[in-house]
Amino acid sequence: MGNLSIQTKSKSLRTVVKFIYPISVLLLSVIPLDLQAQMDTIRYTVSGKVLDVETNDPIPYVTVKVKDVDAFSVTGLNGEFVIGGLYNPQNTLIISCFGYSDSTYERHHDHGKRPHIYLKERVLELGEVIIMAGQKKKEGTQSLSQKRLKRKDLASNPTQSLAAALSEVDGINMASAGSNVQIPIIHGLYGNRILILNNGLKHGFQNWGTDHAPEIDISAAHNITVYKGTAGVRFGPEALGGAIVVDPNPLYLNKPFYGTASSGFQTNGNGAFTTIEVGRGYRKWSYFAGGIFTKIGDRYSPDYSLTNSGKEEKAFSGGIRYRHENLGFKAHYSFVDQNLALLRSSIAESGNSLIRAINSDEPIIVRPFSYAINEPNQLMQHQLGKAEINWSYSSDAMLTLHVGLQLNKRQEFDVRRNAEKPIIDLELNTHDFQLEWKHSDWKKLEGIIGFQLFTQNNDNNPGTGTTPFIPNYNTLRYSGFIMESIRKGKHTYEAGLRIDSEYNNVRGRETNQELFTDEYSFNNITSSVGLVREISNNSTFRSNLGTSWRTPNMAELYSFGQHGFKTSFGLLRYYTNAGGELRTDRVIQMDDSNISPEKGYKWINEWTTTKLKSFFTVTGYTQYIENYIFDRPVAVIGTIRGPMPVFIIDQANALLIGADFTWKKNWSDKVNGRLGLSYLWSRNIKKNEPLINQPPLNINYQLTCNLPDIWKIEFSQFKLKPSYTSRQYQAPRTVAPDALIDGSVIVTTQSEIFDFRDPPNGYFLLDIGWAFKAGDFHASIEIKNSLNSRYRDYLNEMRYFADELGRNFLFTINYIFNSKSD
């Protein structure tokens, strides 16, 4: 109920590091540095201060007990405690905040049921202690396998995309269309099968196709949490593979003026960035503001320049928070502007050029380095405004209202006649209202009930000189959910239910400019059950079985013709006539079709255990997806450009089974290693054929070594990370475009899916890094692909045309300033 614990490790310096997180369980252990020979005659003392993290007020009457030892203390009115006479240098402290007396309990009413503890340690003759609080898991998600990345994990490269930042986590990969457009893959699923929440709001962007990435600025993220199970009940539709929650600056109160200014340079692409964030927390209110500017030119592979692969990005975000007793108010605004180039050599709109591009070992257009971003490229602007009011009307309950507004503008330019006109010019408005009620514990049941109203409006801007690729549409969705959990002894049980009702209104144009319209609705019930079992003090098992769903996106329904180098027809753009022949001459109404939303069932199990100096996590999952949407070839037709393979979007059933394994070991005080392994097996079981673009087996090992201090450098860490990605042995058969164009391979509506090129061979990469701290400066030097390996990534669409990036040196320097605290 009220047990909290903090995990600590000692450092070799005497400055105190403070971490502030809302926590549910804290483990505190003290490891002094100067271990003397006669350990049994030395006594250790641990002391600290318990403060409310939101307001910094001290919390008295908190019981601090040392585990397995008969020693405890209670914090005084100033929140401080001292426990002496300990025999062991390593101890676990259990800090309980709930009431042994009514007066104590009442005190805590003011601060909320879970006092967020902020521990500030005063060191007495011992090495100092770093306190890293385990972050509290969101209600209703405790049984889901999840991983959190903190700001410091992202600091070495704030120019990278969300997907690249997350691909460090086992089970997470990255699908890309070149170096600038990268989307995260969770357990083999990506695109509309992953829900991305930015600042509590579903990121409202053109989330279709494999070449659209969310416009999220990593430098403004303070926390990114990846949920690897279906988090659909809590977060909404589209969370079939999982959910990614990006949190901004938490706007802590009572924080003296702080800031971070960073700048960096990378050799591959001659890229540079500058970012700054400042903020201040007063007693009743706080604010932050920050921004980033990035400019990167053409990258290069080990052998040639990747012409047209640069990017330019500007972003700004800010927020304020106000608190009056138990009423809180927060407002956020963020702006992201991106200009992303796509590889020039990836344009192949005719059979001839596709053959030439795919058969060539090198990209067919290679020019000297340039910062210029030409066609094909994407121009996006994303603005997000959000307001939140929360009302803790009782000690253990809270009512929160979130209101969000997003405006997403996207223009895509292609190599075409009149290339100065975009081929896609869209504006997407998203409105989000969420009311969440975290109710008081009722008969030991904790939970949250929520309501959500979500609307989206998509409009095509005129003047593209080409038929709009996706229609104008309005979406309106009402949702309600309930998530409850109950703890019985060593078990926590969770269950949840969500109802969504979605209405869509579509208006589009056919290629002859005739208007088509449609209106349709889908309703769905999403549910999940989960279990967390603390097998022992060292092991936890969690299991979650949940469903999730998503409606087909506009591109899957209404695609007509070429996008990239494939010609495909959406679910509502083709039909078979009485003679069994494929026809694309009219738009089908949703009610006349037998299209159903995708529905996923995922069962994920995770077992974590700590043994001596090792820490293991094993995750096993299986997922069945009904009405899985994919594209498959149907014919080679004679077009005015010559014979071209044509695809249709279809629905089938898919099964995915996989496992992730992580093993961390502290080899010594200074050296620790982490082994990661992930594997996925998948199949289209209705058609009994493989799925395309599934992540292959990956094994990686990261060795971290803390180096001794030299000169002014107070903290220094060297990192070595070898990794191996194997060839995808489950890839579909290969049919070269030549064989299709000249008719030697026949394709019919019954044909099995194929790929234009064999999957690339397995490859080995070695990343090296060195991070160090001197005074208020933190710096890092990283060498990615230090061996300059030549390789192609199966999950990168550009693998048909060019190799991946060669060696890249990244230099980053951060200046972190904190005004002296009280």
């Binding site: 009149n418 408005n429 104008n472 010609t567 005015i640």
Partner: protein, 205 residues
């Protein structure tokens, strides 16, 4: 306490009002504007005009009526030229998905520096140009009548002279390449992207 309660009430009202206003403002049921579709080509017409007699025209048409849809491309005519004649070939290119149709040849002419027509035909079907056309080798003989701003050939107008030999069921291929930033004095039929490629039957009698 009363003040706080008031504050709470007002904040909720403000947010609710904002909500209503925001959702209210965004309602629109508009359809996208019709566009002059410039990318799609549905009709290509080859017109061989006898240099000696302007009334002597040979036309050959190709049509893909649904543009990118699954209907196949159709070559509606064969090219039947007379022996011992000199022709000037001009090309009409249109998008007739919408009406009125769009003259795509005009767009190509405006962007002449990014386009070039290439031809191939049965070997020695013509006395001029000799050979089999310049699709296989861009330096093979070809008689272009028009140039782009850089002095490179375009091909909306070309000259052809037939000999005295008959030809039945030969081939005549015309290929339009879109070559932005790629077109040069040495670029060929495999550079850039193919906007259309049509293989007609060629008869000379």
């Amino acid at each position: 306490m009363k003040k706080v309660n008031e504050l709470k009430m007002y904040s909720f009202y403000v947010l609710m009002a904002m909500g209503v206003i925001l959702t209210g403002c965004s309602e629109d049921d508009e359809a996208p504007e019709p566009e002059n579709e410039e990318e799609v080509i549905t009709d290509v017409k080859l017109i061989f005009t006898n240099d000696a007699d302007a009334a002597d025209l040979v036309t050959a048409r190709a049509q893909d009526p649904d543009g990118v849809g699954v209907q196949e491309l159709e070559l509606l005519d064969e090219i039947t030229l007379g022996i011992d004649k000199s022709y000037t070939l001009t090309i009409e290119i249109e998008n007739n998905l919408d009406s009125p149709g769009e003259d795509v040849a005009e767009e190509i002419e405006e962007e002449d520096k990014e386009h070039q027509f290439f031809f191939s035909f049965s070997a020695d079907a013509f006395t001029n140009p000799a050979g089999n056309g310049n699709i296989d080798n861009s330096s093979d003989p070809m008689k272009y009548n028009d140039m782009d701003g850089n002095g490179n050939p375009l091909g909306l107008s070309t000259s052809w002279t037939t000999g005295s030999n008959n030809l039945a069921d030969g081939t005549f291929t015309i290929r339009l390449q879109h070559q932005p930033d790629v077109k040069s004095a040495t670029s060929g039929a495999s550079d850039g992207d193919t906007d259309f490629e049509l293989k007609f039957v060629l008869n000379i009698q």
